[in-house]
Structures are given as C-alpha cells and as structure tokens.
C-alpha cells in the first residue's frame, strides 16, 4: 500500500475540515485502533472477541451510512431495513431451503448486491422529500421490511426465522469470524475514506451545506446520491450477511428499531463529515450496553440522552472536539492580496465568437414583472456591468443566464447556439461559473476543499474509480489540487488553504467564491454583487482581479450596487429599472445619461 495513498487516505476524514496532507498524523488513530483490534483475541476472553466482532459488523454498515448521513446530510434513520435484507438474503441462499445451497461467500456477495439495489430504492425518495419527510419514510421502510420477513413464511421462515450462513473452516470459530469481520471492516474504512477524500466526498458535503452552490458547480445531487445509496447499500447488505453468521440464527425480532437508532446516533455523536468520529461512536455505542449490563434496560435511554447532549452542546460531535488544526487561531491582520499572475494556467480556454446573448427575455413572478423584454450580450474578454435600484431585475437576469429561473418569453444563446432554460446543472458544463449575493460555502470543510468543489465537472474519474483510487482518480486529484492552489493564490487567499471556511471574514468569503469559480477555467463569469460588504481598498483589488480575469478571454457579467466599481472597470454598462433597459453604453456615456442620474437620485 504506497504510503502517499495511506497518508492521503484519511486526510479529509480525520476530522471535519481535516488538516493538510502533512505528516502521517491522521493515519495514526486508525492504525492504533487496528492494532488494538488485532491484539484483542490474545486476551483470551472470547466474550470480548464477540463484542468486537459485532462492533466490526456494525462499522461495516455505519461506514457506508456515514457517507449518506454524515457527509450527505440525508437523515436516513431506518437503515436496519438493509441489514435485515442482507441477513435474510445471505441466509436463504446459504441455507438452501428455497434454492439449491450457494457457497457462503457467494451468498454474502449476492447479499451485498441486493443491499445495493434496495439502498437505491430506499434512497430515491430523498431526492424529492424534505429532511423530516425522508426520515419518516426510511423509518416506515424499516418497519415494513421486518413485517415482510414475518409474513413471507415459506422463504424467511416467518416468525421462526432461519439459520445464518455457516462459514467454512477457519471462519467458523469466534476468533476466525472476528478476523474476517475485522478485515472487511478495515477494507470498508479504506473504501469509504477514499470516497470521502475524493471529489464525490466533497460533492456530498456541498449538497449538505450549500446545495445551491453545488448545483452551480455542476454537482448533480441525483446522480451523486444514487451512487452513494448503492455504495452504502452494498456495505449494509454485506454487514447483514456477517450479522446472520454471528447470530447463527436470525428471526425478525433480532432487527429492532433500537439498532437503527444506534447506527444513526453513532454517526451524529461521531461528527458530520468525518470517518474517525463515527468509527469511535460505533465502538462506544456497541460496547456501552455490555459495560452497563445491570442497567441493560436503560441502554436505549442512554443512547437517546447522549444524542440530546451532543446535539445541544457539541453539534460537531467527537470529530469537532478532535479537530484542533482546523480551529487554530487565525492572525487577524492578514489582507487579501490577489496575484493575477497565477491566473495563467487557469484561464487557458479563451473562447471567441459572439459570447452569450439574451434576446427579448421576459419573466414575471405572479403579478410582478421582473424582466420585461431584455436584450443583453456578454462578449468574451470584456466586462459587462449591470446596475439599477433594488427590484430592477439585475439578479434575476443573472439567474436566468445561469439557469436558476426560467423566463416565460425569449431565450439565451451561447456562441450562436440556443441554451436550454432552467437547468443550473448544465451551465458548469458550458464553462459558465457564478458567485452568489450571499456567499454559499461549506463552513465545516477547509478553504481548499471549498475551492476544489468548483472543479467537480473538470475531473473525469467515475465514482468507482474513486472508490478504488484508480490512476484516473489520482490524476484528477492532483490536477484539482494544483488548480485550487493556483486559484487561491490568484485571489490572494493562499495562506488560508487549510483553515475551516467558517473561520473566514466576510470579504475573504467573496474572494473564496471567485476562486471556486476560477476552478472551472470559466469561459464566462457571472458575479452577483461581489463588492457588497468590502472595504474601499478591497474593492479596488477586486476590480483589478476581475479586469485581469476578463483580459485573459473570460466574459464577465458584473451585477453591482457600487457605481464607482462599475464605472471604473466595465467595458460596457447596462442600467435596468423595473425590468427594462433604462440605458446601455460605455461608462462615460452612462455617467452623463439624464434618466440614470434621476433614477439613481430618485427624482
């Protein structure tokens, strides 16, 4: 196992907003736990071996579920359903009571595949249902699977249940089964960590905390969640098979709702967006009832009480407690000093031709006419300023171009070809990047990770390649890393790469969003009031940066209130009022324009 992958593996995982590639520090805790786990059976007491086996099996499931709940932010509470499914699939196939008996490991594989399929089925509602609704749906699904297991007597043995798969020679003993489960758990840790450290892991966090920005970066929530639901379903199915072997005999009563709660709480106590936190959470919650045997009846109460305490006091969970690097005190006097020379590698696209044209675009929300027959053009290599009082349709125009709203009339063309309306996901593919009026960032992740999200569509590696860290995945990561460091240096935030994004000041967040947009090597850049909340000299430096970006061939649309910035850097200015063009021309023409002055002064 080449060292760099090992050091790289948990880099994003050790704690939310985990530190840089640095020393092997983040690997240490995993190695420690793994060595301790290997030594456990030597203590001679098989009881603790069995408990550790159960913890390993639960971690196989939780490591997959963690990507959905911890990283993706989807509240999948009913995951015992897939454990039940995997257990019964493996047992029925291995037991051979319905079909001719299948060798146990093949049965385990089929259980995994079955888990993957049903992971998708359980997960799909997440795409349409709001969080509380989805949580209720998965809970409902969990009760249904148990009841089907009860009712389908001739296959599942109904209330009687059926024996679990009996594993061949070395794994039939407690210690043998333990080492098998430990190996599977270690593999699952590596696989889920490599997904977490890949662009898909970052995509999940983006969906969780900044869904609108994720769309702008071309991260498709549907495709990503579908892949992760299948991935986590496979883990849950395999865990189900191993669980059936550990139990030696399974009945519907074994798959209790408390198990679902245990999986869910171990992730939340462990901490969102982390691998180590939920791993520790799972170990603690599995061992807790064994220590607290006299109050066995109270174990579920303890779980719930722990969850409440964690949610109220440290929402970040154990991971947040352990994440010291991400929270180091930042020196407050640092200033944003863009270095436009670093733009060279990022803006190599230089698209020529007619740029983006809006033709007779009209759009109204209910009775209010937001845009009324607008014609506008963004030429490559030039800055087009858009100003006007509140409610004049500036931001709505930008949202039409980037596909967030669909106009009732008119259309948008790019380089002559018509652009389908209302598809924000597609605009990243067309080389069109944007920023937002209020910065949309992932507070938990580092500045570098936030920026790398911008380059999502430029990477070519598929999900599976990231799972197994195949060459194309590693090439993508290296390219994204390089681009991100260039982009951060270009906007002047190079020193803050490994800080948690929520530690940044407001003005730094503005420049962070621009860096994220640069990751797309954009042909067009749409800026939505980037100067709001900046100090005077920060506005000057922003102006120079935007001018440099446009000089390298990128067409820029600048929506702004700050009239001085507009007149300073724009090649062309359009003034909107009540959704119609009041005036359009060079900055000098606009400054003398009678209506503009009165519209601004409100004659």
């Amino acid at each position: 196992m080449p060292t760099d992958t090992l050091t790289a593996v948990p880099r994003a995982g050790a704690g939310s907003g985990a530190p840089t590639r640095g020393a092997g520090l983040p690997v240490l805790p995993y190695l420690l736990i793994f060595l301790l786990a290997c030594a456990l059976p030597l203590a001679g007491d098989n009881y603790w071996t069995v408990i550790a086996t159960r913890a390993a099996i639960y971690w196989v499931l939780v490591s997959g579920l963690n990507l959905i709940v911890g990283y993706g932010g989807q509240l999948a509470i009913g995951w015992v359903a897939l454990l039940t499914l995997g257990a019964y699939t493996a047992s029925v196939l291995a037991g051979g009571n319905v079909l001719p008996p299948v060798p146990p490991f093949a049965a385990l594989a089929v259980a995994g595949a079955c888990g993957g399929l049903f992971g998708l089925v359980v997960g799909l509602p997440a795409l349409r249902l709001r969080t509380f609704y989805f949580a209720m749906a998965t809970l409902g699904f969990a009760t249904i699977v148990t009841q089907i297991a009860l009712a389908w007597q001739d296959v599942t043995g109904g209330g009687i249940g059926l024996p679990g798969p009996a594993l061949p020679a070395p794994f039939d003993s407690e210690v043998g089964l333990y080492y098998l489960c430990l190996a599977v758990a270690a593999a699952c840790t590596l696989l889920s960590a490599s997904v977490a450290a890949s662009r898909f892991g970052r995509g999940l966090i983006a969906i969780r905390d900044a869904e609108v920005a994720a769309e702008a970066c071309g991260i498709s929530k549907a495709r990503l969640l579908a892949a992760v639901f299948v991935f986590s379903g496979v883990f849950a199915g395999v865990a189900g098979g191993l669980f059936a072997s550990l139990q030696t005999y399974i009945t519907p009563e074994a798959f209790t709702f408390e198990l679902s709660v245990l999986f869910f709480i171990s992730i939340l106590i462990g901490g969102r967006g982390s691998i180590l936190g939920p791993l520790l959470g799972t170990l603690i919650l599995t061992a807790l009832p064994e220590f607290a045997a006299p109050l066995a009846a109270w174990s579920n109460f303890l779980y719930a009480a722990m969850l409440l305490v964690i949610v109220l006091t440290v929402p970040g969970g154990i991971a947040a407690l352990l994440d010291f690097r991400g929270r180091r005190a930042r020196d407050d006097d640092r200033r944003v000093l863009p270095d436009p020379s670093r733009l060279q590698r990022l803006l190599d696209r230089g698209e020529s031709g007619r740029g983006i044209e809006l033709q007779d675009v009209s759009l109204h929300f209910g009775g209010v006419k937001a845009i009324d027959g607008l014609d506008l053009a963004i030429a490559p290599g030039r800055i087009h300023g858009l100003i006007g009082p509140n409610g004049s349709g500036k931001t709505t125009t930008l949202n039409v171009i980037s596909g967030y709203v669909t106009p009732q009339q008119g259309g948008v063309r790019q380089a002559g070809a018509p652009v389908p309306m209302g598809q924000p996901l597609a605009c990243a593919g067309r080389g069109l990047a944007r920023t937002f009026q209020t910065p949309r960032i992932v507070g938990d992740a580092t500045v570098l990770q936030n920026v790398m999200m911008g380059g999502h569509v430029r990477a070519a590696g598929t999900f599976v390649e990231s799972v197994f860290r195949l060459p194309r995945h590693r090439r993508d990561e290296r390219a994204l890393h390089q681009d991100a460091h260039d982009a951060l240096a270009a906007v002047g935030l190079a020193g803050l790469a490994h800080l948690r994004a929520d530690r940044l000041q407001h003005s730094e967040l503005r420049f962070l969003e621009i860096a994220r947009a640069l990751m797309l090597h954009p042909a067009y850049l749409l800026l939505d009031e980037p100067a709001a909340g900046l100090s005077a000299d920060e506005i000057l430096r922003l102006g120079e940066l935007v001018r440099e970006i446009s000089r390298r061939g990128t067409g820029v649309l600048l929506v702004e209130h700050h009239a001085d910035l507009i007149f300073d850097i724009c090649d062309h200015v359009t003034v909107l009022n009540l959704g119609r063009v009041l005036a359009s021309g060079t900055p000098q023409e606009i400054r003398q324009h009678k209506e503009v002055v009165s519209a601004y002064l409100g004659a």
Binding site: L75, I77, P125, R128, L129, R130, T131, F132, Y133, A135, M136, A137, L139, G140, F141, T143, I144, Q147, I148, L150, A151, V212, F257, V261, L268, A297, W298, N300, F301, Y303, A304, A305, L307, L308, V311, L312, P315, F365, T395, N399, Y404, V405, F436
Partner: protein, 285 residues
C-alpha cells in the same frame, strides 16, 4: 361488517387527525416538526390509566392531571429540544433533538409502566357494539378540539397572535409580539391536544408504551398529505387514513394492511411532495 369498519376506521382516523393537529400546532410557531407528537398521544393513555385505575382518582380529576402532565411534556419539549436549536434551523438539528427526547420519553415509560398493554378505564359506559364509547369518543374529542381551536384562533387575541406568528414570523417580532411566549404556549397547547388524543383513544388502543412510534408515523401521514401547518388537511387526511387502514385490516389482514398504508404514503408524497393543500417551496436563490 361494514358498520364496524366505518366506526373503528373513523375512531382511529380521529386519533391520527388529533396527532396531526398536535404536529401542526407545534409547527406553526417554530417551523419544527417534533417527534414528540406521537409520544404525547401515548402519554395521554398511560397517564389516564395511571391516575384513574392505579391511583383510583375520579375520572375528571384524572383527565385534568393527564392534560397537565402532557402540557408539562410539551413545555419541556420546547425548552430542551426546540429553543436551543432554533437558531440553526436549516441544519435540521431539531429532527435529532426531538427524536432523542421522544426516545427518552418512550424508554422511561417502557421501564416504569411495563411493556404489556395495560387496561384503560371505561369512562361513561354509553353505547355498545358499533356505537360503543371507544369508537365515538375519539371522534367527539377531535370535533371538540377542532371547534376549540377555531374559537381560539377566531375569538381570542392570543389565537390571532398565533396566526400572525405562523404567517410572518419576522413582521410579528417587529410589531413587538412576544414571540417566545407564544411559542411556549403553542407547545403547551400541543401537549394538551396530544393528551386529549391519547385519553380519548385509551379504550381503543389501551395504555401501551409502544403507541408512541405508531402514532408518530400514522399521525404524520395526514400532515404530510394535508400539507404542513394545515389543520383542515390533517383532519381530512387522518379520517381517510383511518378508514383506509381498517378497510385493509379487514380485507387483507394486519400485516399487509400496514404495508398497504406505507406504500400509499410514499406514492402520494412522491407525487405531491408539499402535500395536497400545501404551498410550493419558496424561491431558492
């Protein structure tokens, strides 16, 4: 056969509707869907049986003490599980804090009250067979609550303040309305409604600790179908669900009935995510 389907269906449906109204009452002033709604229903039955059967109090005293107990649980819910997480509403921490509190309530009840369904006292003893008390009481309770809420919202200033906070929280705060007191009062009121639901359902569903999760799910379905915060939708949705479930119970049998209800819930929700009467989601960007 049809008569008993209708009577038990409307009875169970009225209980689900009341739990739906409990959800809505909490939601209107805090934008939080709390897992404790079903537990309040369960406590209505358990406390009622505790006060009247175990402690032998007169029925009316037992009823009032039950409502007081549930009101206290409502107060604690707001204090412990809602107020601390309100500021991070978009992180949906409220789902976790209310789930944790609901689980704690359920475990304590399971340990102190036992895990077998305990008997619930016979209150008035009026009616038998299809018109037995345990069938018309929940429907009467539901009607009484709906009427009571209508009076509260239409006649009293506090009720109108509720509607104002529910419609435009920011404007209500700017106008100087005591937003926190109103939220606490709405959670206490939700506790009382949940208590009434459980008490009225006592004879039908007995004093059973596992009624909590059952009511949580089946009380949520009418809210989801009817649209968040919409009591009229909750009552219609609840009654329809109750009759559908009993119909499935009679025709297909217990196990498949709950599968049928769940499938219906998922299909309708995927088709109409914000519910039949609900409003579409606001502009995102």
């Amino acid at each position: 056969m049809f008569g008993s389907i209708l009577s038990s269906g409307l009875a169970v449906g009225a209980i689900y509707a009341l739990i739906g109204i409990t959800y809505n009452t909490m939601y209107s002033t805090s934008r939080v869907m709390s897992f404790t709604a079903g537990q309040l229903g369960m406590l209505g039955g358990v406390l009622g049986s505790l006060f009247i059967l175990k402690l032998g109090l007169p029925i009316f005293a037992g009823f009032l003490l039950t409502l007081a107990g549930c009101a206290l649980v409502g107060f604690v819910t707001e204090l412990v599980a809602v107020r601390p997480v309100l500021k991070s509403i978009e992180q949906h921490l409220y789902v976790l804090s209310t789930l944790a509190l609901a689980l704690m309530i359920q475990q304590v009840t399971a340990i102190q009250w036992g895990t077998e369904p305990q008997p619930f006292p016979r209150l008035f003893g009026i009616g038998s067979g299809v018109l037995d008390e345990k069938f018309w009481l929940p429907v009467a309770a539901c009607a009484a609550v709906v009427l009571g809420l209508e009076l509260l919202y239409r006649r009293t200033l506090v009720g109108r303040a509720f509607l104002a906070v529910a419609e435009d929280n920011f404007a209500a705060r700017a106008l100087g309305l005591p937003e926190r007191h109103l939220r606490v009062f709405s959670y206490v009121l939700a506790g009382v409604i949940g208590g009434i639901a459980g008490f009225a359902a006592g004879e039908l569903m007995l004093a059973f600790f596992a009624n909590g999760p059952l009511l949580n799910f089946y009380g949520f379905v009418p809210v989801a179908l009817g649209g968040l915060g919409n009591n009229r939708g909750a009552v219609l949705g609840g009654l329809a669900l109750g009759v559908f479930q009993q119909l499935a119970n009679f025709t297909v049998g217990g196990v498949f009935a709950s599968i049928a209800v769940f499938v219906l819930f998922i299909v309708v929700l995927l088709a109409v995510p914000q519910g039949i009467f609900g409003s579409a989601a606001a502009r995102r960007v």
